[in-house]
Subunit: 382 residues, 4 copies
Amino acid sequence: MSRQALRLGMVGGGEGAFIGAVHRMAAALDGDWRLVAGAFSTDEGRNTRTGEALGLAPQRVYASLQAMTAGEAALPEDQRIDAVAIVTPNHLHAPMAIAALNAGFHVFCEKPMAMSVVEAEAIAAAAKASRRLFALAFTYSGYPLVEEGRARVAHGDFGAIRLVQVEYLQGWLSLPIDSEGNKQAEWRTDPARAGLGGCLGDIGTHAFQLAEHVSGLRVEAVSAELTTHVAGRRLDDDVSALLRLSGGARGVLKASQVAAGEENGLRLRIHGERGGLEWAQMEPNTLILRWLDRPAEIVRAGGPGLQDSTTALLRTPSGHPEGYIEAFANLYRSLAAAIRGEGNGWYPCVTDGLRTMRFIEAVIANAALDQKWTLVDSGETE
Amino acid sequence: MSRQALRLGMVGGGEGAFIGAVHRMAAALDGDWRLVAGAFSTDEGRNTRTGEALGLAPQRVYASLQAMTAGEAALPEDQRIDAVAIVTPNHLHAPMAIAALNAGFHVFCEKPMAMSVVEAEAIAAAAKASRRLFALAFTYSGYPLVEEGRARVAHGDFGAIRLVQVEYLQGWLSLPIDSEGNKQAEWRTDPARAGLGGCLGDIGTHAFQLAEHVSGLRVEAVSAELTTHVAGRRLDDDVSALLRLSGGARGVLKASQVAAGEENGLRLRIHGERGGLEWAQMEPNTLILRWLDRPAEIVRAGGPGLQDSTTALLRTPSGHPEGYIEAFANLYRSLAAAIRGEGNGWYPCVTDGLRTMRFIEAVIANAALDQKWTLVDSGETE
Amino acid sequence: MSRQALRLGMVGGGEGAFIGAVHRMAAALDGDWRLVAGAFSTDEGRNTRTGEALGLAPQRVYASLQAMTAGEAALPEDQRIDAVAIVTPNHLHAPMAIAALNAGFHVFCEKPMAMSVVEAEAIAAAAKASRRLFALAFTYSGYPLVEEGRARVAHGDFGAIRLVQVEYLQGWLSLPIDSEGNKQAEWRTDPARAGLGGCLGDIGTHAFQLAEHVSGLRVEAVSAELTTHVAGRRLDDDVSALLRLSGGARGVLKASQVAAGEENGLRLRIHGERGGLEWAQMEPNTLILRWLDRPAEIVRAGGPGLQDSTTALLRTPSGHPEGYIEAFANLYRSLAAAIRGEGNGWYPCVTDGLRTMRFIEAVIANAALDQKWTLVDSGETE
Amino acid sequence: MSRQALRLGMVGGGEGAFIGAVHRMAAALDGDWRLVAGAFSTDEGRNTRTGEALGLAPQRVYASLQAMTAGEAALPEDQRIDAVAIVTPNHLHAPMAIAALNAGFHVFCEKPMAMSVVEAEAIAAAAKASRRLFALAFTYSGYPLVEEGRARVAHGDFGAIRLVQVEYLQGWLSLPIDSEGNKQAEWRTDPARAGLGGCLGDIGTHAFQLAEHVSGLRVEAVSAELTTHVAGRRLDDDVSALLRLSGGARGVLKASQVAAGEENGLRLRIHGERGGLEWAQMEPNTLILRWLDRPAEIVRAGGPGLQDSTTALLRTPSGHPEGYIEAFANLYRSLAAAIRGEGNGWYPCVTDGLRTMRFIEAVIANAALDQKWTLVDSGETE
């Protein structure tokens, strides 16, 4: 809660789009943000209708990002937007993020960060030069019990980590709906708009980011297979990868969009010398901790035994489920706090984005080879 | 989403209060409502601080409900509040709801509706006379899969209903925290502020309303026991009741606030001639359907097989959990639609409130007797 | 395991009967017992065929219990049976148990113990006079984690017990199969063979015995409703009861055979001042412990943290599920140990049977009254 | 159940050994087998004590397998053993199986079949030449709902299979107990007794066999990593493998014995074009079926909707859990039926054993290479 909500402009997210609406709800939830401007669609009618439905002043519904950054920059500082939410298809993330940053606005961008490591590095450079903040929608790391897991690993509760298993199973691309008019499916399987990876870029990145974030380890090398199960599809719809992580841990990453009947099955398991954890996105308010020498524990959002950094992410007492929108809202809240120079809430940023892009490139390179392992660039020479 | 958000004023819910913050998030989520006024606390400093933190204009932070209704009525129609959210302790529900209705504002009131059937009837009369809407925060009936269950029963999927089992288990009053300074516990166990029932009024009412709402049946008679397990507590902290429902169904209602280790365990099971359902609030995106002649089904929020009336309550695709705040927001959204004369979304209203008050009175009467059954007044003579 | 298996004779349990086969598997599992004689059916052909299928010597397949006790008594002591397993319909339990005890044999009898308290007391007297052991098939109390729960309560882990909730839900009598030729259903709903209670006697007794066994408390008074949902059925198919237990605990017992779609849902929850437990028969290798001040624990059969008395009931390491037959076998093993004068394994005996019969009579008496509470005879005057 | 139990001799399984006792219970459960002879230990005292405890005639407790085959062959046909159960460490499987087969006895052997493909082929040849049956203890394929899953896949319920995910997680080797006197751990990590694979041979083989058995597909190529996480351990304690299966399916196999806190977590998921299945050994009486176009189903052992081949493996009505010993007993029962020339129950045999040994060898070869894929010998040239 705070005195004056920050002002948000949005690019993309016209009526009918899924993720734009989620960003708007997440931004609204805690009263930290107020949507005041948008360039929702290149279709003028759709753009106008979306702005109206959202109660925006007509003059702040712009035809393009450029128009928005120009128009907003011309407004008094206490009226103009503070940040731009970018919820377009992937190929527009980098040019738009760079433009917004250069125009002096903070950015909250959908994932994946960009189409390539090179593009991602250009965003990083723009953020640095503009001294503006760049947040990335790795939503799942906004769940309170993900933070609990991360903190437990970091505190050494499980000893040195040996195993990391992450999976992300969806079934919605089991049929060739991308060639039958489903818009969500269409652009996600189009290399020109989605990037080099299909399932890999869309959900494999979430799995990778979650695994590194919670384990505190870096994936150093991958051995991967990309498969396209549905005939005619232009990008992979299924990823399997063996991982070598820092400190000698071993991992498996599995992501699929043709796991028929699965919904949004992101699930992480980590085991160390003395115990381990299990978290599943579809029941996000439960974190199972397993131990070598005592019964497993059911840690619950809002229940006893939580770290302070977890409690800070909760809005309701235990047993009142918080979900996906709340996790998303945690990222918006942390970004708002960072913009205001308050608090120290974490949000996924340039670093997470770059790691993920390097992972994508390593997987794609490896999948084309008969060589078992491909190193994931550590980025440390930069 | 809609052109212009409705304007909300709030009574109660000063900083530190739990349920006021939930109302604000629920109202904000879909952009249907905007909080513009409040009388958050009788403590002037607290009132002012809350208003500031929420970004309200200082002149719309009022010292009392009376001041708010007067001040708002004096504003132009397109600025004044449309509705009042009442989030005070129970004994203030009726006087405040009646005052707000009489002043021409719609009301969204916390449960239980009132301190007695007589008070509840006075609210009903005020709503009728003022032609204003009265919504009641039986939040759990706002969950999408509760609607799915209700619709399935109503469509006769299970045949005639035979069994209704509802339970609501919490453990937070296991220790005498009400006499040790916990404010939430203090007023809830004070007959002057909570009413005649402790656990009965606080959570037993939720269980009762959910059971009647989903089963479509009426509880005709109760045989009940109220217990106070914690020494010195002034109201019951534990309720058990046998139910006789319309159509010959038999039920059990169990609510407790001394079930140590339980969180917010509201759970409903209904069985008919051919099958039944099970829903638990702590995993609200799953509804189990059981059948006599085929395997049980796991119906999922956003998954295949849902009624349209269920889908209308969802914001995200399957596997993206929606929780308590979203359920709450569904009630605010339905009330907004009703005020605008749009749609036909359901929300708990005067009828639900009256039923619940009659149930409370029947339970309290029965618990004091050695007679097995007490009829629940059908209210049909009114 | 032991030198020489004890020898078992069986009454009832001819081909096609369910529970007889279970007794035979349970007795065979650990090598403690060997089935050597039987009077399986009054139908001569069926009797003979059953004996043959079981590999019994033809001369030890008897026409009746009387023939068996006479025939076996005539054999040398190191050949004759040690005990009789009684797996007939309920009305034969008492006369057969008394006859077998009087003839000098130990007895393992199906539940319920008898048709009335009077009959049960006659069995008790016969056991005492004959100095033979009488075990009763309250199978569910043979599960290892039931023992774990019992021991935890007894050790005071949860503090004084406040709540006991037990339920037993089946759906197999949802249709009028008792009047359509289903033999299992037929005798269970026939007062002449089943006794005064239908669902009450068949499964309500299991629920009652489990609740008292694990809680260590006595049900002092009941307020109950018996319902027959299926038209034409001669006994209750549904039981609901409020319980007052010793020490001020409050309980609910729910048993139904018309909960369509339910299988064999026996489930017990107990809460005390500081925590509680939950156990469900259909996933018997998990015991959930809940705590007021720390996360819930998942206690697992074979896992860390078990009492010695629990470990003694396990055959396999953790994660290798043991089930219903193993629980049953634990009772046979304990009876064998008792007969041999070894060990101190617990098994349900005359005491449990008498308690249960008194409970049945109290429920039936109460259900016919408009008085709320009926005392359950403590039996202490005996 | 049958007229005359078959007679079993056992090699290995002296007092204190885990798996020998399981074999004895499994063989005893249905009355199909009777243990009459054994060579339980090379330690004479232990051998004698075990025989006594099991109630065997002293002259049938032999000093060695050779002594047993000779001694039994000298008995009249209607007294001598029918089969030998081999429950020794791995390195003795092949020589003992071959000796027993050559001596004219059927064999029920623990897994893995042998130390190498060459040894396994020698067993196969001996079985063929002797015309005796050879069963292998891939116990998990004896669970009823594993059969249900297999049948569903075979019937094409899910369409062509795309994904196979199998995992087997244990934690019991997280500490270096193999160098601290734990006998079970000691031989399993000793290459001379366990074979070339540690975790791979002990539990990876179970995972592999289950995946091929249920999917009906063949693993054609593997890309694998073997890891030894515990310092000083001589064999792998962790396996990860990507699988290419016949028909274009893709798979992941994960097995670990250092997943601290895990018990015996064998879990299989298979997805095809239209749906998929999930089965977990630790809750073996539930099989989840997921569908693209309708809610997931919970198929239950004993419940509605089962194949006849599943029902044939069940002993109790739905809701009465059957576990590991019952699954094991199903294999013994099928072998008995095959020996008697009755029925057509399936049991794992030479074919399963050879497939598994070829998988082990392919994984070990691949793990040592920097080449991504290694073919698994199809054995078709034989």
